[in-house]
């Protein structure tokens, strides 16, 4: 038992030493044999030949403005650098590059080597594109009146049992003035209905009157800011056409409004 433990400790110590040694440096491989001596006879190097551009072309050679062409090149022989002008810059000996010149451009490839420079050129001809298709008609011609009212004109909201224009509704209606004038200009034969709505709580009969007052108040406000009154009608729906039916203040507020809709 004791001997076995002692052996284990010794063995571990050896291993630890080896491991620690390994941490310092890799076990050094045997040094390579020294390189053979260069032959004493000096061979005169051959005269370097200039690099050869075996390919440089644009594909396609003719494009329309906005389209792209691909430059392909291959340089053989002894070269130290290859570059293409017109902003392409230094490139590999073999490669391709997409270009989209706005006008006809001649690209020059220069391969430089100990034997001298070699250049080659490729031209991309750029022609004007065909005339663009006619622009889509202005939105007013296709967007319907109710879509315009829905997207451009905000509702005005009211307090419970009130038809006074409160401050947030003043802001909304003030913004609505320009939109309404634009829409009335785009739809010269249309009238716009200012609808008055109420929440569900008061009696239906009273709310029909209250909705009328809300619609009238909104119309009068718009009229004062220059919206032609003869193009605005008012109609009360009381609480007959709610846009939500939940029994909470958030829904009730959504229903206490003046809303804009196409005239009949």
């Amino acid at each position: 038992m004791f001997n076995k433990r002692k052996f284990t400790i010794v063995w571990m110590a050896v291993m630890l030493t080896m491991f620690a040694a390994g941490c310092k440096k890799k076990a050094a491989p045997p040094p390579p044999p020294p390189p053979p001596e260069r032959p004493a006879e000096v061979v005169k190097p051959p005269v370097a030949a200039a690099p050869v551009v075996s390919q440089f072309a644009a594909e396609p050679e003719s494009i329309q403005r906005g389209q792209t062409s691909t430059l392909r090149w291959e340089v053989t022989g002894d070269s130290t650098s290859v570059s293409i002008n017109q902003g392409v810059g230094v490139v590999q000996k073999t490669g391709n590059q997409r270009v989209n010149p706005s006008d006809s451009t001649t690209y020059t490839l220069t391969a430089t080597g100990p034997g001298g420079d070699t250049t080659a050129s490729a031209t991309v001809s750029v022609s004007a594109p065909p005339p663009p298709p006619p622009p889509p008609p202005p939105p007013t011609a296709t967007v319907t009146l109710d879509k315009r009212l829905e997207s451009d004109v905000q509702d005005a909201y009211f307090d419970y049992d009130k038809s006074e224009i409160r401050s947030d509704s003043r802001d909304a209606l003030t913004k609505d003035v320009a939109a309404l004038k634009n829409i009335l200009g785009d739809f010269p034969n249309a009238t716009i209905v200012v609808e008055g709505h109420c929440d569900e709580r008061g009696s239906a009969e009273y709310n029909l009157g209250l909705g009328d007052r809300r619609a009238s108040a909104a119309k009068e406000f718009l009229q004062q800011l220059g919206v032609p009154p003869d193009r605005l009608k008012t109609i009360s729906y009381g609480k007959e056409r709610p846009q939500c039916s939940e029994q909470n203040e958030s829904c009730w507020q959504r229903n206490r409004r003046a809303h804009f809709a196409p005239g009949q």
Partner: protein
């Protein structure tokens, strides 16, 4: 017993204005309501197939009158007489079949302990449904027991069976000083087709039929005093405007609306020759106007700058109008003379009050009020327009609105959403015996007419 509706006097303490519960329109004068028994009638031959509908109708009508203590059928003797000769004279028989039902005392003594017994039979004879009906005062102290003994005729089908039951029930109710509501009509708004239209039905909810077909929004029916016309409000011609129709046959009488963004809440004058309504004409919505049935001769009555709607003229005096106004803030019920003078607020100013409807006696109104509840949670109240004392008939069982008196002054119809959806209900003037009359779609704004 002859006078059904009377108003118990109440001391006029200031507290009673708020807590008055000891005043009201009482349905029956009797402290003890008469005890009535109606055993199931049997039918001969073809008639038997319709006896389920017959017995149900007879029971419901008599029970619905609110005048009687209906004794349950389970306490009746096993034998039910079908004609007077089925009774054995208790004096002539040495051993009357006590408890069997052949003796009148079997009915007048416990367990049924009746005051009155209805009995009879039906038969299909020569293509006619014939009801032979008797109504007996079975109390031993009475010498002449027979109150009613009569034959009623109908078609041999369920409708004919119901008709004879309605007529027999009406005679029973009348014999004890009441007035049957059978034959009167309830107009109401139903959205069951997808659009709000005017519909009509019998007072028990049967025979529901569509009156208007505008495919618009059509609301607020009112019935003329003779029951021949209805007025209502519709968006059928873009702006909310008034229409007047005859009901039999249904025909547009072409009321001419004055030019206004709102013409609404029409109701007939007691003579049926004009309507009063609310209009935004000549100003803001709305003032109270009066006009002929063709829309001509209109003139404003009220001149307030507030919203004023729902004018109703006192059917007895014809000289005063109750209406709803926001002139003091939240909508309240007011009264004024026909010339717009002597304006008086009837409701105390708290909550919101609406939908006033005159009792036929011209002393009471029923109305909807949120007093004591959250905004929008209306309950039905009645009020003495002279003393301003009121009682509450519904107690927050959903939203309860648009009460309308039956011609008998004992029943009311109203809208309630207590069952989850807006439906038409009836009840007695003391708030008892609520009964749901409609189930299809949403239904509201009932008006009870002749």
């Amino acid at each position: 017993m002859k006078k059904l509706v009377w108003f118990a006097s109440a001391s006029l303490g200031a507290w009673l204005v708020l807590t008055a519960q000891d005043f009201g329109i009482t349905v029956s004068k009797n402290r003890e309501k008469p005890k009535i028994g109606i055993p199931d009638f049997r039918g001969a031959a073809e008639a038997q197939g319709f006896m389920g509908a017959f017995n149900q109708t007879l029971w419901d009508d008599v029970n619905g009158a609110g005048l009687f203590d209906m004794v349950a059928k389970t306490s009746y003797p096993t034998f039910a007489p079908q004609q007077p000769s089925d009774f054995q004279a208790s004096a002539s028989s040495a051993q009357p079949a006590r408890g069997g039902g052949r003796s009148m005392t079997d009915w007048s003594s416990p367990p049924p302990q009746l005051d009155y017994l209805a009995f009879g039979y039906t038969a299909a004879q020569n293509g006619v449904f014939v009801l032979s009906g008797w109504f007996y005062d079975v109390r031993p102290t009475v010498s002449n027991h027979q109150v009613i003994g009569k034959r009623y005729l109908g078609t041999v089908d369920e409708a004919g069976a119901r008709k004879t039951a309605h007529e027999f029930a009406a005679d029973i109710i009348a014999a004890l000083g009441g007035k049957s509501i059978f034959g009167s009509h309830v107009y109401f708004v139903s959205k069951r087709t997808g659009n709000k239209e005017i519909w009509a039905m019998d007072p028990d909810g049967k025979n529901q039929r569509q009156i208007t077909h505008f495919n618009s929004t059509t609301v607020q029916p009112a019935v003329s005093p003779d029951g021949s016309k209805i007025a209502f409000t519709s968006w059928a011609k873009v702006y909310p405007g008034i229409f007047i129709f005859s009901v039999d046959p249904v025909r547009d009488l072409r009321y001419y609306n004055q030019s206004a963004s709102v013409n609404e809440t029409p109701s007939f004058t007691p003579d049926g020759k004009q309507i009063v309504y609310a209009s935004s004409a000549g100003g803001r919505c709305c003032r109270i106007f009066i006009a002929g049935l063709d829309g001509k001769g209109l003139r404003p009555i009220s001149s307030s700058s507030a919203i004023e709607v729902e004018p109703k003229i006192n059917p007895k005096t014809g000289s005063e109008i109750v209406f709803v106004s926001g002139r003091s803030g939240p909508q309240q019920i007011y009264k004024m003379n026909m010339d717009g003078a002597d304006v008086e607020r009837l409701t105390p100013g708290n909550g919101e009050a609406s939908n006033p409807c005159w009792h036929p006696d011209g002393q009471f109104i029923a109305f909807a009020w949120t007093q004591g509840y959250a905004t929008g949670n209306f309950n039905i109240f009645t009020m003495d327009v002279v003393s301003h004392k009121y009682i509450q008939l519904t107690h927050s069982e959903g939203r309860n609105e648009n009460p309308s008196w039956a011609p008998d002054g004992v029943h009311l119809v109203f809208m309630s959403n207590r069952s989850g959806r807006k439906q038409i209900w009836s009840m007695l003037a003391d708030g008892n015996q609520p009964q749901q009359l409609t189930t299809q779609g949403e239904n509201e704004s009932p008006a009870w007419g002749k």
